[in-house]
């Protein structure tokens, strides 16, 4: 599983890095960023999926 944040759509709600801190982090202004290249460790997949489904702006995609 790999996740991506569309920076045009992200508004910095911060749900992703609160719910899946192993997968997402934030920049200095609170906008979400994927950690590394967005590849999700097997143990983090549920959290990553929860983050995808919790983003109010639909800014995160998973493949």
């Amino acid at each position: 599983m790999r996740v991506r944040i569309d920076p045009e759509v992200c508004q910095g709600h911060g749900r992703c890095y609160a719910l899946a801190p192993g997968v997402f982090t934030c920049d200095d202004e609170g906008y979400g960023e994927v950690i590394g290249d967005g590849t999700v460790a097997p143990g983090d997949e549920d959290a990553a999926r929860l983050a995808v489904d919790s983003c109010p702006e639909y800014a995160i995609t998973a493949e």
Partner: protein
């Protein structure tokens, strides 16, 4: 405040500078004379009675709405998902999540020049910043005015404020020692955001009552005569202006001084911009967070099962807070229609309001399963309590921290509590909804 305002100039038609440089606004600072002139020009007050048909004549200050808005929105969503009223010079009310989201994201057709519905319209001359940047700013100026705030309200900056916030909460609880009944809204929830924001801005905490007076006058006094509302604005600016001037002369280690030193496009922002942003932080940060903390305590007082589950397993709290934010979302914002425009078959006229009900969006069955049930374990929860699109609440990380710490401390002190008198709970009227009288038995 012109009586029949022209549509606000858009960057496209006026050729405003691309990044929206600071404009000289010194001759727009509110004075008694300027505001009196605006009141004299404003349309006459109209008397409207109680609402009989919310689809064609809604009013968000109507008694039925204040008492219990949810059935009203549910019915509108089914029968007339974009309602209209002639009140306030014309306003629309979308209740579906999809429409609220589309309008929040459409800054071309809907301007943020004012986000609080009232009879008057704010002065166009203040564009592009508007009366309280960034909430009243439109692109492209908006992004620059917003960026000034983001790093001081980032999750990291907010984490530094947690210990002092916790200490305040404990102090407030210690003051209740020995009492059986306390008012959780008046004695607890309302003080927390006031103290946090006063501290950040560097304003004396002892001015808390004055801040709450300003907030009340501006957010909850929307149906008051214009003369009274204008008086509150004047007092707010008369209070803040010398605070800004003192820091221009001698910077301190606070947010006001930091704003004074900040630049947009390489030019310092004007003192009046600083004052308006500080005013926004006071207005946006207090009533809202107070309401969210109060509504959460109200729910827990009335739902012993949920309360006991959280007391047993505090790890549930963050998820529960998101659900309280969804179900009891305190904040409804507004937009003005920029030019005549048809949205989903609705003939919207320039300068009509759109009430952007994030609370109604959060109850839309198209977006949430069992939207009327408060499920403290609900996850995922894509709620819109902090807004959607470019104006997403800049204070959301701060607010979430305050709500969590306030509830953690409350539940630690009072693992068991109940409403002293359910009928005596009173909710605020206007665009920020929360309990304003909330007596609970804590013994």
């Amino acid at each position: 405040m012109p009586a029949a305002p022209e549509p606000p100039p858009t960057p496209a038609t006026t050729g405003a500078p691309a990044a929206g440089r600071p404009v000289d606004d010194s001759d727009l600072v509110p004075t008694r004379e300027r505001l009196a002139a605006a009141v004299a020009e404003a349309p006459p007050e109209e008397e409207y009675g109680p609402v009989h048909d919310f689809a064609t004549d809604f009013d968000h200050t109507d008694e039925a709405w204040v008492a219990d808005p949810y059935p009203i929105w549910d019915e509108l969503r089914e029968t007339c998902p974009i309602a209209h009223t002639e009140r306030y010079g014309g306003a629309w009310l979308p209740t579906r999540h999809a429409d609220v989201s589309a309008i929040a994201n459409d800054t071309e057709n809907f301007t943020s020049r004012s986000v609080v519905v009232s009879r008057g319209r704010p002065p166009i001359e203040l564009a592009p910043a508007g009366i309280a940047p960034p909430i009243t700013s439109d692109p492209p100026f908006h992004a620059a005015a917003r960026r000034l705030l983001l790093s001081v309200m980032s999750p990291k900056a907010v984490a530094d404020l947690e210990p002092s916030t916790r200490a305040y909460c404990r102090e407030l609880i210690a003051a209740m020692e020995g009492r059986d009944v306390v008012d959780a809204a008046v004695e607890y929830a309302q003080h927390i955001p006031v103290r946090v924001i006063a501290n950040m801005l560097g304003l004396p905490e002892s001015d808390g009552d004055r801040f709450r007076g300003f907030v009340h006058g501006i957010l909850e006094g929307v149906s008051k005569p214009l003369e009274e509302r204008v008086e509150v604005f004047l007092e707010l600016f008369e209070y803040l202006t010398p605070q800004v001037e003192a820091r221009q002369a001698e910077p301190r280690d606070d947010l006001i001084s930091m704003l004074i030193a900040s630049e947009i496009d390489g030019e310092p922002i004007t003192p009046f911009h600083v004052t308006r942003t500080v005013a926004l932080l006071l207005i946006a940060g207090i009533d809202t967070t107070w309401s969210a903390i109060g509504a959460s305590i109200w729910h827990l007082a009335d739902h012993p099962d949920d309360r006991e589950r959280i007391v047993r397993d505090p790890a549930l709290l963050p998820t529960a807070i998101e659900e309280f934010l969804r179900a009891y979302a305190p904040v409804t914002m507004a937009r003005l229609v920029r030019d005549d425009f048809e949205y989903e078959g609705c003939p919207m006229k320039a300068e009509e309001w759109v009430l952007l009900s994030f609370p109604a969006a959060n109850r839309d069955p198209e977006a949430f399963d069992r939207p009327d049930e408060v499920l403290i374990e609900r996850a995922p929860n894509r709620h819109a309590a902090f807004g959607l699109g470019a104006h997403r609440c800049a204070g959301s990380h701060l607010a979430r921290m305050e709500i969590r710490v306030a509830l953690e401390e409350w539940l630690a002190a009072f693992p068991s509590f109940r409403l002293a008198d359910p009928d005596a709970v009173r909710w605020s009227a206007g665009q920020v909804r929360g309990p304003r009288a909330l007596a609970v038995e804590v013994s």
